[in-house]
Symmetry: C2
Subunit: 177 residues, 2 copies
């Protein structure tokens, strides 16, 4: 049974996974969205307490799965409230930082990572953009997030994701779709 076994797998069978998310809790995070150019300083986005989402799409990913992913990430009770209760980032309420991370699609062959299963850049960009837009709609639409002016920030697709974060416990979670 090697299906679903990535990384150390030697199976050649195509895997059913179409997207991977890594979720981490943070106190703050800062991500570069525009590298320095000859005429401009580099630009960053920042969030406060909330959720970091690393995201990668595989070949076969489709638009109709994106809302399910957004809902899972934003409504899962993974954030620790002041009273120690686990609540969703929408109920915390917290900020959201989305980091495109094509490397998450890699499979280890010997000492090298292969990314044959990753989606092509154009489709990946479209799905990523939809994911970010839907996150924004969910956060904007959540009463607690709106009251406390929580924000969604998203990295630039295809860029090097220069970033820093601080956390009281990342509580790293992995989701496949």
């Amino acid at each position: 049974m090697a299906s679903g076994s990535n990384g150390a797998s030697t199976s050649e069978e195509p895997l059913p996974v179409r997207s991977r998310l890594i979720l981490q809790q943070c106190l703050s995070a800062k991500l570069m969205v525009q590298p320095r150019t000859d005429t401009q300083e580099e630009q960053f986005v920042e969030i406060g307490r909330g959720l970091i989402i690393y995201i990668c799409f595989f070949r076969g990913a489709t638009e109709d799965m994106v809302e399910k992913m957004v809902k899972a990430a934003l409504t899962a009770c993974l954030s620790e409230s002041e009273t120690g209760k686990l609540v969703s980032v929408l109920d915390l309420p917290g900020d959201v930082l989305i980091i495109p991370q094509a490397t998450l699609g890699g499979s280890l062959k010997g000492k090298r990572m292969q990314y044959h299963r990753n989606i092509n850049k154009e489709d990946g960009y479209n799905l990523y953009s939809k994911f970010a837009k839907l996150c924004d709609i969910y956060v904007t639409g959540a009463p607690k997030c709106r009251e406390q002016q929580k924000v969604v920030r998203a990295g630039t697709y295809g860029n090097r994701q220069v970033f820093s974060t601080q956390t009281n416990g990342p509580y790293t979670h992995y989701l496949e779709f």
Copy 2:
């Protein structure tokens, strides 16, 4: 085909995965290994440029798989050298920070994470300790790491993993064993 499909899976079938690793590149990272007590300040470990390894064991994980995991993590060419070439952390050479992360074993059911598949604490501690010890042996034994006095630092099993990191690109990778 839901085997290997975690998170969004509705399958009740047991999955074959016995361990998960998340690998990230960093410029620096700092992790609390001892919380503050009445008589003592909190204690941290720090690394410079190198590799962060988040690790989680599932039920069924065994000692004989640990070296394969260590070898995969430390010899995979995921680190960017000065010349832009991808090399292993042993050849970079770089430091290694190991973060125990039981939450990586979670499966999403509705809005709640379940950790039924996680290994028990005692066995998990033993496997984690072996993993950390073997990483140290590999790093100590790698000529470039030894020459440049690279270090392995490991979080305290069962603790809240208070930490911070800076990166020029995490290049997040996911491995299953």
